[in-house]
């Protein structure tokens, strides 16, 4: 070990970090032989004491209460209520129902920004084909699955939105 290593040990010991018994012994041996490191160690000891004994203000007994009285109202994130979940789910199911019904009719004439008959038909075809390609199942069964999927998405989205607030 070099003088630099011993000075680092002296610094750590002065700051109150525990040394291993072996390090402590080696340090003591070195300080007895090396007057420069011994002076550094004394300085470290005095510096640590000066920092510790530096005059400090102590908190008044009711400090915590004083702070608590000034805190803004709950920082807390309220848990979304069960009622909120059901409301969101109902809305989701209604929306899903409306979408399914529109697809079922294969005539999304309610899309207001599509005025041309041709575009309307194309959009409807794309949606209808996507819907039908989901499996070789009967249309009513597929509708129920589709409805459930949209409902679940709405449920997930509502939980996400509630979590973010």
């Amino acid at each position: 070990m070099t003088c630099t290593d011993f000075r680092l040990l002296a610094e750590r010991r002065a700051a109150g970090f525990p040394l291993k018994a072996r390090q402590e012994k080696a340090l003591e041996r070195h300080l007895a032989e090396c007057s420069t490191c011994a002076a550094v160690a004394r300085f470290e000891h005095n510096l640590a004491a000066a920092v510790r004994e530096f005059p400090a203000v102590t908190p008044p007994a009711d400090f915590a209460d004083m702070v608590l009285a000034q805190l803004p109202d709950p920082v807390a994130v309220p848990e979304p209520s069960l009622r909120e979940y059901w409301w969101n789910l109902t809305l989701g199911v209604l929306a899903a129902g409306a979408a399914s019904w529109a697809l079922w009719q294969k005539a999304p004439s309610w899309i207001p920004w599509l005025t041309g008959e041709k575009e309307r038909t194309q959009i409807a075809d794309i949606l209808f084909n996507a819907y039908m390609s989901m499996g070789e199942v009967s249309l009513p069964t597929m509708s129920v699955v589709f409805l459930a999927l949209i409902g679940l998405t709405a449920w997930g989205a509502s939980a996400l939105v509630a979590g973010e607030r």
């Binding site: 070099t2 003088c3 630099t4 000075r7 002065a14 700051a15 109150g16 970090f17 007057s35 420069t36 011994a38 002076a39 550094v40 004394r42 300085f43 005095n46 510096l47 640590a48 004491a49 000066a50 920092v51 510790r52 004994e53 530096f54 005059p55 400090a56 203000v57 102590t58 908190p59 008044p60 400090f63 915590a64 209460d65 004083m66 702070v67 608590l68 000034q70 805190l71 803004p72 709950p74 920082v75 807390a76 994130v77 309220p78």
Partner: protein
């Protein structure tokens, strides 16, 4: 068994202000000690500490359990102190100026070789501590922060780097420079005493 800091943070976030009260009681002594060493006017210490705890409460949702609450809190305390100092900018005029080359962060590995020489007798006397205290209070605030966090709060270099938001090497340099400056100041004081004696 008493709840850990992270558990108290969780309870506070659920709306239980008393849990935050326990956190305050647990950390108030350390916070006052740190602020006392960074803010010159003792009359401002309580105000700054209070401000820091209120900021911490507001920032609580951003506290991640992977850091120690104390380290996270000290960072808020440090920033609160800096803001307060900016408001009272004139106090900084009383601090010693350290030349830019002394702030140089290079060559830290060889620092032991350029150690200020220490005459054996220079650090024997009891009044060394009083001299040190006086020199300490004139050090730039960053140096006082590093010395306090290391020698008083027993934070590692790494934790100090997190609190002060600086690279670990800068912390080592500041610790070394602070000590080097204190030694020079002490020796200067001593030789001027001998001169006048």
């Amino acid at each position: 068994m008493a709840a850990g800091d992270s558990e108290l943070v969780r309870q506070t976030l659920k709306g239980d202000k008393r849990a935050f009260g326990v956190l305050i009681q647990r950390h108030q002594d350390a916070v006052f000690a740190l602020v006392s060493r960074l803010i010159r006017n003792p009359g401002d210490v309580q105000d700054v500490a209070q401000d820091a705890f209120i900021r911490a409460y507001r920032a609580l949702p951003t506290f991640r359990g992977d850091a120690q609450f104390g380290t996270w809190l000290y960072r808020i305390v440090w920033n609160t102190c800096l803001d307060r100092r900016e408001q009272h900018a004139r106090v900084q005029e009383r601090e010693v100026q350290i030349a830019p080359e002394e702030e140089d962060c290079n060559g830290i590995d060889g620092f032991a070789d350029e150690e200020t020489p220490l005459p054996d007798a220079a650090f024997e006397a009891d009044d060394v501590r009083q001299g040190l205290e006086a020199c300490l209070s004139r050090l730039p605030v960053h140096y006082r922060a590093v010395l306090t966090l290391y020698y008083f709060e027993q934070k590692s270099y790494e934790e100090i780097a997190m609190v002060l938001d600086q690279p670990m090497n800068t912390i080592k340099v500041h610790l070394f420079r602070a000590k080097s400056h204190l030694k020079k100041a002490l020796l200067a004081e001593r030789s001027s005493e001998e001169w006048t004696a």
